[in-house]
Symmetry: C2
Subunit: 234 residues, 2 copies
């Protein structure tokens, strides 16, 4: 298989384990304040508001804003469901930044280093630039640029997000590969002419709750990012 | 002096030596085709069209486009002045990419490595993302993100370019430092609330033709980027 000139990456779930990281961060902030709740359920509930919130913007009903703003809006929606109230503004802001402190899956940074030898690398995530930068610093992700929703002014899977990334690198979509653990993301990337690489994250949403393999045709599928790099000859 | 949370960098002249690099690239491409000209004068003439071309966009007379497009337009303007004609489209395209193959001043990459320990780093240049990425790969610049004209949709010294960079990092302008070898750039950054750092590039436009020091008040001035990093305590 010919090596793509650029590899674009989904981040939440594909590169980082948002679920256990958000649960850990929430516990670290809320436990000392006397709150006791099912931290993994809290992470799942917060993530559950993710797609509906973006859909308001994808549909054109609301103007584009950074994902940090949507995360905060979603946090305010779920706190009452867990009977959490009375948090200070500082605590809410800090809790919202849990998404900037997610830990990578162990193969993510080593896989990027292998791909970097031959490919330009960028996240094409719905996360904002500052969020991507914080995750990169924390986890040693070596990006050439931060692309994705904030430079496109819209959220995946809208075509503009994939195409703006290709245009930023002056590349035809066929020279670029979208890499994700989500078949839906890859299906939309392929519709826009990008090549596609799937990574298995079988436990993204909890034990056995994640994609162990693609449910759509892809150009390459790996057990993890190092395996995918090897399959691309790197 | 308190270390800024982010350092933003002018690139052409400040981080890379565009003049001798463009002269070298032009000679490498045009000499084998039988052309003989004053290569440094050619580089100066090309760069001479830079500000007037951007002014068409800053003024609103033309829509924003990547600097690569302006460089190509400017190339077409200057070729006849040097009696160069009959170049193929491939040659013109390759010549235009001379700006993607500029060499760094020797202190640039080591200076960035020192600053990276404490500061987020991004180019805030009028160059497009792909151009910045190519210069970073060539010269070992370790950026956290590529900011600047392409994410702002305008060219420096318009306020939007400085402010879009601060906003991308979720930082107040006063937490950010613009670093440049050009007093005009720093003067506009300061007007928008950013801190400013000047680097001496006394030979940017040829021997003795460059800023040996700032002509406006700045927060810090260095002989080069390593000296400036030291003055910031890094």
């Amino acid at each position: 298989m010919q090596t793509p000139k650029a590899c674009f990456f989904d981040v939440f779930g594909t590169m980082v384990d948002w679920r256990t990281s958000v649960a850990r961060e929430a516990a670290a902030i809320l436990k000392p304040l006397g709150h006791s709740l099912d931290w993994l359920a809290f992470a799942d509930a917060w993530r559950g508001e993710y797609q509906p919130a973006m859909e308001e913007i994808r549909s054109g009903r609301l103007a584009f804003c950074k994902l940090d703003v949507l995360h905060r809006h979603n946090l305010e929606r779920i706190l009452p469901r867990f009977d959490v109230s009375g948090l200070s503004e500082d605590t809410r802001r800090n809790l919202n930044l849990a998404w900037h402190r997610l830990d990578a899956w162990p193969d993510a940074a080593p896989g990027l280093m292998r791909l970097k030898k031959k490919c330009l690398l960028a996240p094409v995530s719905n996360g904002n630039i500052s969020l991507m930068v914080d995750l990169a610093r924390r986890n040693g992700f070596s990006w050439d640029a931060i692309l994705g929703s904030e430079i496109a002014g819209d959220f995946k899977p809208k075509p503009r997000v994939y195409l703006a990334a290709c245009e930023a690198f002056d590349l035809a979509p066929g020279d670029c590969m979208m890499i994700a653990a989500h078949s839906n993301d890859l299906s939309h990337a392929a519709k826009n002419g990008l090549r596609t690489g799937h990574i298995a994250r079988p436990n993204e949403h909890g034990p056995g709750k994640g994609e162990a393999g693609p449910s759509v045709p892809v150009d390459v599928a790996g057990r993890d990012l190092e395996d995918l790099a090897a399959k691309l000859g790197l």
